[in-house]
């Protein structure tokens, strides 16, 4: 989602995200929340850093890392040891530009989003092909399902029960 917001996601993956976003209100809300958070953070006043800030920060990080390594699991320590190389690689990986100053909040948001996406299967029994479908096709499949479920009858019933629609505010045709 970070890469999607940064606009750095490859075209095919971007389409897949958009297809999912089109059909998933929860993820759209999540995306909007991330956008707002980013906008808020980027609107904060910038402070000039001291000349030795970078050097001092690196020194403190190195010292902290040494302390952690002393208590860290070794490669023989089961799952924690197995995950060690992945953890180290990801700790070294650069953050997306806009999220650099947002690491803690970003990590929380990303975790929440991952849980939301994990829990929100678009439709029961969804075939993996639908994840690759263009957003337009995904939308039409959704519409097809709604029509099958009688949503057009529902449109008529709802309109007939709303005073505003009786005078043509949302008329058919």
């Amino acid at each position: 989602m970070g890469e999607y917001l940064d606009g750095t996601l490859p075209r095919r993956q971007r389409r897949a995200v958009e297809a999912h976003l089109f059909a998933c209100a929860a993820c759209r809300r999540e995306l909007e929340a991330m956008r707002r958070t980013l906008a808020l953070v980027t609107s904060l006043p910038r402070r000039e850093l001291s000349a030795d800030f970078d050097q001092a920060l690196r020194a403190r990080l190195t010292a902290a890392d040494r302390g952690r390594r002393a208590n860290a699991p070794s490669r023989r320590d089961g799952l924690a040891g197995f995950l060690l190389p992945f953890r180290e690689r990801h700790l070294r990986a650069p953050w997306p530009s806009a999220l650099r100053r947002l690491a803690p909040a970003g990590a929380l948001a990303a975790a929440a989003l991952a849980v939301a996406v994990w829990n929100l299967q678009p439709f029961p029994g969804l075939h993996p092909a639908s994840q690759r479908a263009p957003a337009y096709v995904a939308t039409l499949v959704h519409e097809h399902q709604l029509l099958k479920a009688g949503s057009d009858m529902n449109v008529t019933v709802v309109r007939h029960n709303l005073e505003g629609d009786l005078l043509g505010d949302g008329e058919e045709e």
Binding site: V141, L167, D169
Partner: protein
Amino acid sequence: MICSRLAALSLLLLAAAPLRAQDARDALIHSIEMESRVSYAGIQTTVVTDRGKSRSSQQVVKRMAPDKLRIEYLAPAGQRGELVIDDGQHLRHYIPSLKVVEEGPSRVQRSLQHQQSRIRDVRAGKVNATLTSETMLLGRPVTVITIAPAQPGRPVRTLWLDRATGVTLQITDQTPGGRTSVTSFVQIDFVPILGPAEFQLPPLRGVTVVPESLGKPISVQRARQTAHRLWGGMPEPAQLPPGFRLTSAHQLSYHGQPVIALRYTRGRDDLSLFVSASAGEPFSAPMQRGINVVQHPIGGILVTLVGSLSPAELEAILASLRFPGGPGGTPPPPASRRPLR
């Protein structure tokens, strides 16, 4: 003598016409004003007829003043258990068969927000309403009003308005395309016992929340006219598997571009044919159990078939498409197209 009587009768009729229009306007204004003041609960039926084929539903409708609405479907079997709840902030439609909740802004609230402007429109004569009759329905005195459409192609509406409460006990829409829809209460209670809990969706597990449907039902004739205007014609299959019938038509919008859908059914089998002027790539894949998709750009339009048939059957239907509006049944020439996102 006869001439003078006829002239007198004409004068009486001429004088009566504005009165009847005024009566119709008064009844409409009363109905609009009462919208946010009346609570009721009742059982309602809706029958939609198009091209000789009818579909019907039965639903329990509850309205709690000022801004809450609940519709619970009893029939048909495929819709039983569906729930529409407008709590004054959101309209949510729970579809158990899909495990989906459609969500959109409150329609009741929108209706109430436009209450004053609608009353102004009626007062100003912008709504062409006439009093048809005064009669009884469900043992209650009602005023029957006919509203002529302001624009061609829209339906003629007839409303049976309860004289005491202003509630619409029956409504009939008759489109020029021949689609008719009738919704009427078969039972109604104006002193219902209602609580706020009835206007909240119960906790639902494993459902997906999606935006409300983008489509609206239109007559088949209207779909063909619209497609003809937009793309020179509506492609329709010359060959369909035995038993399939064209049952309904719909208009959708995708990123502001119109999409027309024709729906064919055969028992539980179904097929939706979507047409738009957008640029898209050929696509063919099973989407999920029981749903396949085939998509091809043809001439200046993009045709997408979605249905329970096999991809090979969908391809065969796609190959048999004819353009009634086009010369010799050929597709229209390519038009300027926008790529789909």
